[in-house]
Assembly symmetry: C2
Homo-oligomer: 309 residues x 2
């Protein structure tokens, strides 16, 4: 029996259409994004972050996020996710019919101020406002928090682990469905990933959220492995490694979806994703962004002989 | 206190001058090799595989292995290692004064025949002959075995894990000092690495040897992490990711030494290696092989802010 016919044990949340495209200067046409998203869905992905609800002058690449969500809602079994930086963004996400929204809150005050011109505490207030909005207008919509710079910050350097856990607890107590940790700056190591996610699960229980890890210094998959061993079951990744964080200098490189799925499937951990179709989903990305560099070791080397995709 | 002043917890065995250079068509001049090896030593590396004792017509890039060993023996505290495919190679290594030799034996019969035109059983006989030679002529020289294709083979596909362990036991019983496992084809995954090295240690005890892992499909560091967790303390790696196995089509990419050392040091596992000096050792490699592609994520991204190298 093919592994893709059994229930998945991990959820791979594709962030390329948001985190990837926001780092690319070229705007991918909406029709090309739709073909890409359809190919990702056909490969078995069941959650895709489709864009951000931020002013179009800041991220013109993502100005069609609402349109893309409307399209993706037509794909059966797909959870549509959008990033929102504030209540206004949440209002737009509700209007667009997103299944879930994700609010990024940076643990590093320096990064938070540089990124959204608000302190982490002010972002916590924004979260409370978003959660109040959900209660009033969209009780079925999911609200997640991703804690940026949880493993270190290019601006302030080391980030205190107690501060990460305190902020995660405050978000959970405010009512966020779950709180994940992001290696925005690509500074995480496996021991730290294991330690922080273990604490997060101890403190937050079922509200401990996704691992959003970067491959900036080559440790992306090792960090995902450590997170998996610490009990994490949701992983953000970007097809062809597109993207990163444009506000953390030098911090590029989301974990490559294909390589991550290959690691799990090779280990016998079911992802629900068909690797051949996933590799095929690079073609519409390539067509939509012909000048952009695509990454990924599996795509270069190919599936091993005899591997059951 | 800098981590490099404390006793190392893992041994990083640099294989670039052998495994790297044998895959490069250009021959690096001996003087350039010497500068590179001196820079690696200055960074804190304490074991370097300097070449192979094979006929120069097969690997002209490594024809100066004896000369390089003579040079490297002058570097204090450095163990000089050479690969030998047979007894004749071992004789040359003894003449050159190598501290240790490594004999590769492939678990896959198809790979073994393609690589050395001998079956694994015939290579086991060759090992016995090499060990007899050591007893007679060089009792202080180390003799290691590396089991190639231990995690899969591009020619035969999957490799039976019991066959790996049986061959490892036979090598240890023949008298090899230790027996390591090599992911020649870049097919290993972390679950398999953990399983096989755990069994290897159970069966061979202190004679369980090094992990020689490739990054062919991006899993190199995740596999090293799994091996470390299974108790492995010696890791082969290649500066700038130079090299691979020219006899396993599509299987390129040793684990990058800089990225591996960064992972361990970031985790608080002492390597005895200074990362800034290690990164600086790319310069003589670049000068010696100006046309060759160098790899490595740490070299691209740089050390994180505040990181103690």
């Amino acid at each position: 029996m093919s592994s893709s016919t059994q229930a998945p044990e991990v959820l791979i949340s594709e962030v390329g259409p948001r985190d990837g495209l926001q780092s690319v200067a070229t705007t991918m046409p909406t029709a090309a994004k739709q073909r890409w998203v359809a190919a990702l869905h056909a490969a078995g992905l069941r959650e895709i972050e489709l864009g951000s609800f931020v002013p179009a002058r800041l991220l013109p690449q993502l100005a069609d996020t609402g349109e893309l969500i409307a399209f993706a809602r037509g794909l059966p079994g797909l959870a549509t996710l959008a990033l929102v930086p504030n209540r206004r963004g949440a209002e737009a996400a509700i209007a667009a019919g997103a299944h879930k929204i994700s609010l990024p809150i940076s643990v590093s005050e320096a990064h938070s101020l540089a990124n959204v011109r608000k302190t982490p505490q002010a972002m916590l207030e924004e979260l409370r406002s978003v959660l109040a909005l959900r209660r009033e207008q969209a009780p079925d919509m999911g609200v997640e928090v991703g804690l940026s710079t949880a493993f270190g910050c290019t601006l302030q350097g080391a980030v205190d682990e107690d501060a990460v856990i305190r902020l995660a607890l405050a978000c959970a107590e405010a009512g966020a469905d779950d709180v994940g940790l992001s290696d925005t700056a690509g500074m995480a190591n496996p021991a730290q990933v294991r330690r922080l996610f273990t604490r997060l699960r101890q403190e937050l229980g079922e509200r401990a959220g996704a691992a959003h890890l970067h491959n900036t210094r080559g440790l992306g998959l090792a960090n995902c492995l450590a997170a998996y061993e610490a009990g994490v079951r949701t992983f953000d990744a970007s097809l062809a490694g597109l993207g990163g964080c444009p506000y953390a200098p030098g911090a590029s490189g989301n974990v490559v979806t294909e390589d991550l799925v290959f690691m799990f499937e090779a280990m016998g951990v079911r992802t629900g994703i068909n690797l051949e179709r996933l590799l095929a989903a690079r073609a519409p990305l390539r067509e939509g962004l012909p000048q952009e560099a695509l990454y990924g070791m599996l795509a270069e080397a190919g599936l091993p002989k005899g591997f059951q995709a």
